[in-house]
C-alpha cells in the first residue's frame, strides 16, 4: 500500500489550486436527417446500412449477402431472429463454454442498442451475448438496431447511457464500421483483426 499512499501524498503536497469542472453540455451538432448522416458516415468507414420493416426482411437480406451464404458457421444472439434460413451451421452461443470455440464463426448477427448519427457508432454490450469475444472474433458482422434508436451526437449518447444504466454492464462498446488499419503506408485495409464487414440493420418492428 505504500506506493499508493506515496503517490497520493506527492500529489496532495503540490497543493494545486482547484480549477472548475465545466459542463459537457455544449451546443453540439444536430442533423436534419440523422439516419442519412449515419448512413453516409457508416459507408465512409466501410460499413453498410439496411433499413427494414421486420426481422423477416433481415433474413432475406442476409441470404443475399455472399459472406453469409458462404459462411460455414453462423451465430445469432438477436431475440426473434433465431429462425434464420437453413444453410450454414448454427452455433448456439449459450451452449458454448469457452469463447475459443467460436474461432470458426464466419458470420455473427448481434444486437445493438442504439446508433449515433455523427460518427456511425453503435452501442453494444454483452448483456444478451454470452461471449463478448464474438463481436470481434467473427469474420463478418451484422448488428441489429431497433429503428428510431438513434441519437445525433456523443453528448446525447452518454445522456442516454446515463438514464438507461448503460454502463452497468461489465462490457460495452461503440462500434463504428468494420475493423480496419492503415498501419502499412497509410493504406486503408478493412479487416485488421476484427470483422471484415459490418452490416447495420435498422429494424422497424421487432415482430417476425
Amino acid at each position: 500500500m505504500s506506493s499508493r499512499n506515496d503517490i497520493l501524498q506527492a500529489i496532495r503536497d503540490q497543493a494545486i489550486p482547484e480549477r472548475p469542472l465545466p459542463s459537457v453540455d455544449i451546443d453540439a451538432i444536430i442533423f436534419d436527417d440523422p439516419i442519412t448522416q449515419f448512413q453516409t458516415v457508416l459507408e465512409s468507414v466501410g460499413g453498410q446500412l439496411i433499413q427494414v420493416e421486420s426481422h423477416a426482411e433481415v433474413t432475406s437480406h442476409l441470404t443475399g449477402f455472399p459472406p453469409y451464404r458462404n459462411a460455414q458457421q453462423v451465430c445469432c444472439a438477436v431475440a426473434g431472429l433465431d429462425n434464420l434460413p437453413d444453410g450454414p451451421n448454427f452455433v448456439q452461443l449459450d451452449a458454448i463454454d469457452d469463447p475459443h470455440d467460436l474461432k470458426a464463426i464466419d458470420y455473427a448477427i448481434l444486437p445493438g442498442h442504439f446508433a449515433v448519427a455523427e460518427n456511425a457508432a453503435i452501442w453494444v454490450t454483452d448483456e444478451a451475448v454470452a461471449h463478448r469475444a464474438i463481436y470481434f472474433l467473427t469474420q463478418h458482422l451484422a448488428i441489429i438496431v431497433p429503428a428510431g434508436e438513434i441519437v445525433n451526437n456523443m453528448h446525447e449518447a452518454y445522456r442516454k447511457l446515463a438514464t438507461k444504466g448503460g454502463l452497468d454492464q461489465h462490457f460495452g462498446a461503440f462500434i463504428s464500421g468494420p475493423s480496419k488499419t492503415a498501419d502499412i503506408e497509410q493504406s486503408l485495409v478493412i479487416g485488421a483483426h476484427g470483422a471484415r464487414s459490418l452490416s447495420v440493420f435498422f429494424v422497424q418492428s421487432q415482430a417476425m
Binding site: I11, I16, E18, R19, V24, I26, E118, A133, F171, K180
Partner: protein, 461 residues
C-alpha cells in the same frame, strides 16, 4: 543525444524524408476535414481542456474515487511509483496465474516502462497485436509515432520483414495481402494467449471503469479470449465523469487520424465472466510534472498524436530522431521534464511555429512550454557553453546602441569584400544551402537620418 544529428541523417534520404512528410501531412489534412465539419470544435477543445485541468487539480481525490469504484466492480487496483514497480506488479500477476503467453495492445505507458524486455527476460512471450506495433516489434525497434507506430516504414520494408518472419511471398508489397498475413499470424496469437494487456485511454472516476480505443479490434480480442486482463495507465488518464467521454471521444479520433471515432471504443466495467481484471496506476514522474506549474498542462495530453502529424520538424526528421517513447512536440516537453540533461536538445528541435498548440485537442500550449523549457535548460546551464556565450555577447552588443551600430557597420563593410570561400565554409551552417543576406552600404538608421536631413534642407524652399 542530439536531435539535430539524428535529423540530419533522416533528411539525408531526401526522397524518403519527403515521403514521410507527405504521409503525415495527409493525416493532418484528414484531421482538418473532420475538425472543420464540426462548428463546435473550438468549444469542444475548450471544455476538454478544462475537464483535464480540473481533474489534474484534484487528482488525488479522483484517484481515490476511481479506486473505490473499481474495487466495487471486482477490479484489482495496483499502484506503481515508477516503471520498475509497474513491471514488477505485472510480472507478479502473470506469475500468479501461471501465464506463458501474453498479447498486448498499444500502450505508450508500457513502452515508457519498458515492460516488454522485462517480461521477455523472464521467459514470457509478449506479442504486440496492433499491426504497426507488431511490425516494429519484429524489427526490434521502438515505435516512431504514438498512433502510427510504423509510419517511418514503406510497404517494401514490411514485405521484406513479413517474408522473413511470417513466410509471405517475396516481393508482394500489397498492404491488403500483408495485413491479411498479419491477421492470420495474430489470430493464432490471440487464440493461444493466457493473458491480455491493454493501455487505457480514459479512466472514469465516478464509475471505476475505463475506455480503450482501437481501430483494429486487437485490444478487444486480446482481453475477450483469455480470462486475465491487465490494464496499465498513467495516473493522468483519469476523467471525473462518464459524460466527459462525449468530449474526449469526439476529439480523440478526429485529431488522431481524421476519423469521426475509432472503430472500437470499449468500456470495461469489471472482469470478464469467470476472469480477473487488474488495473495498474503508474506515476513514473507524473507527480513531478504536476508540481511544475508551467508544464502542468502537458498532463492534459490524450496521446492523439496530432502534434506530431502537424509538426514540420517531426514530419521531416522522423520519430526515432527524438530517441524517446513519445516523440514530437509533446515528447519534447515530457522527456526533458523528466531528464533535462539527456533530452536538452529536444525543445530546440522546434521552429516555434505554434501549429502544435493550435492543433492540440486539449489545448496544451505546446510551443510556449517548449520555449519555457529552453529557459530551464539555459538556467541550469545544460545548454552548451558556446551557445550561452554567443547569446551573452549578442546581448552585450545590443545593450549598447553605439556598439550595435559600429558592429553592424563593420559587418556590412567587410562582408561584401570577403572572397566566397571565407564566407561559405563549414563554419557557416547558414551558407551550406542558403545564400547570405545582402550587406547594404547603409543601414536603415543612416538612410533615415539622410532623408530627414534632406527634408529639412528642402523645407525653406
Amino acid at each position: 543525444m542530439n536531435h539535430a544529428t539524428q535529423a540530419t541523417a533522416f533528411v539525408a534520404n531526401d526522397e524518403r524524408a519527403h515521403w514521410h512528410d507527405s504521409a503525415l501531412w495527409f493525416v493532418r489534412s484528414k484531421r482538418d476535414k473532420c475538425a472543420h465539419a464540426l462548428p463546435e470544435w473550438e468549444d469542444l477543445r475548450a471544455a476538454a481542456s478544462e475537464v483535464k485541468m480540473h481533474t489534474i487539480s484534484r487528482l488525488a481525490k479522483y484517484l481515490e474515487q476511481f479506486e473505490v469504484n473499481a474495487k466495487k466492480l471486482g477490479v484489482h487496483v495496483h499502484w506503481a511509483k515508477d516503471g520498475a514497480e509497474h513491471n514488477k506488479i505485472v510480472h507478479g500477476i502473470l506469475q500468479k496465474h501461471d501465464v506463458k503467453k501474453v498479447v498486448k495492445s498499444k500502450s505508450m505507458l508500457t513502452e515508457e516502462c519498458h515492460l516488454n524486455p522485462c517480461l521477455e527476460k523472464h521467459g514470457y512471450e509478449v506479442v504486440d497485436t496492433d499491426l504497426g506495433e507488431r511490425i516494429v516489434q519484429l524489427r526490434e525497434e521502438p515505435p516512431s509515432h504514438i498512433v502510427l507506430p510504423a509510419i517511418h516504414l514503406k510497404k517494401q520494408d514490411v514485405s521484406t520483414l513479413f517474408e522473413k518472419h511470417l513466410g509471405t511471398e517475396a516481393g508482394n508489397n500489397d498492404p491488403q495481402y500483408l495485413t491479411e498475413a498479419a491477421r492470420g499470424h495474430l489470430r493464432d496469437k490471440f487464440l493461444g494467449a493466457d493473458a491480455g494487456i491493454t493501455g487505457v485511454n480514459f479512466a472514469i472516476a465516478e464509475t471505476g471503469g475505463f475506455v480503450v480505443c482501437t481501430n483494429e479490434g486487437n485490444a478487444d480480442l486480446g482481453v475477450s479470449l483469455p480470462k486475465l486482463h491487465i490494464a496499465c495507465m498513467g495516473i493522468e488518464k483519469l476523467i471525473p465523469r462518464a459524460s466527459d467521454l462525449s468530449l474526449f471521444l469526439r476529439l480523440l479520433a478526429r485529431s488522431a487520424t481524421g476519423q469521426p471515432i475509432t472503430t472500437y471504443s470499449s468500456h470495461f466495467h469489471g472482469p470478464i465472466a469467470g476472469g480477473e481484471l487488474h488495473i495498474v496506476l503508474v506515476d513514473n514522474g507524473r507527480t513531478e510534472i504536476l508540481g511544475r506549474e508551467e508544464f502542468r498542462r502537458s498532463l492534459n495530453c490524450i496521446r492523439c498524436g496530432a502534434c506530431m502529424n502537424t509538426c514540420p520538424v517531426y514530419r521531416r526528421s522522423g520519430g526515432h530522431s527524438y530517441e524517446t517513447t513519445v516523440p514530437g512536440p509533446i515528447g519534447s516537453i515530457l522527456a526533458p521534464a523528466r531528464d533535462a540533461n539527456e533530452f536538452y536538445s529536444l525543445p530546440y528541435a522546434c521552429s516555434l511555429c505554434g501549429s502544435c498548440t493550435d492543433v492540440c485537442p486539449v489545448k496544451i500550449d505546446l510551443h510556449n512550454q517548449l520555449l519555457t523549457m529552453r529557459g530551464k535548460i539555459a538556467e541550469k546551464k545544460i545548454l552548451p557553453w558556446s551557445k550561452r556565450i554567443q547569446m551573452r555577447l549578442t546581448s552585450s552588443v545590443m545593450k549598447r546602441t553605439w556598439l550595435f551600430r559600429w558592429a553592424g557597420g563593420i559587418a556590412r563593410w567587410i562582408m561584401p569584400k570577403l572572397p566566397r570561400f571565407l564566407v561559405y565554409n563549414r563554419f557557416n551552417p547558414w551558407g551550406k544551402q542558403r545564400e547570405m543576406p545582402p550587406f547594404p552600404k547603409k543601414s536603415f538608421r543612416q538612410l533615415y537620418a539622410d532623408r530627414k536631413r534632406n527634408r529639412q534642407e528642402d523645407k525653406p524652399k
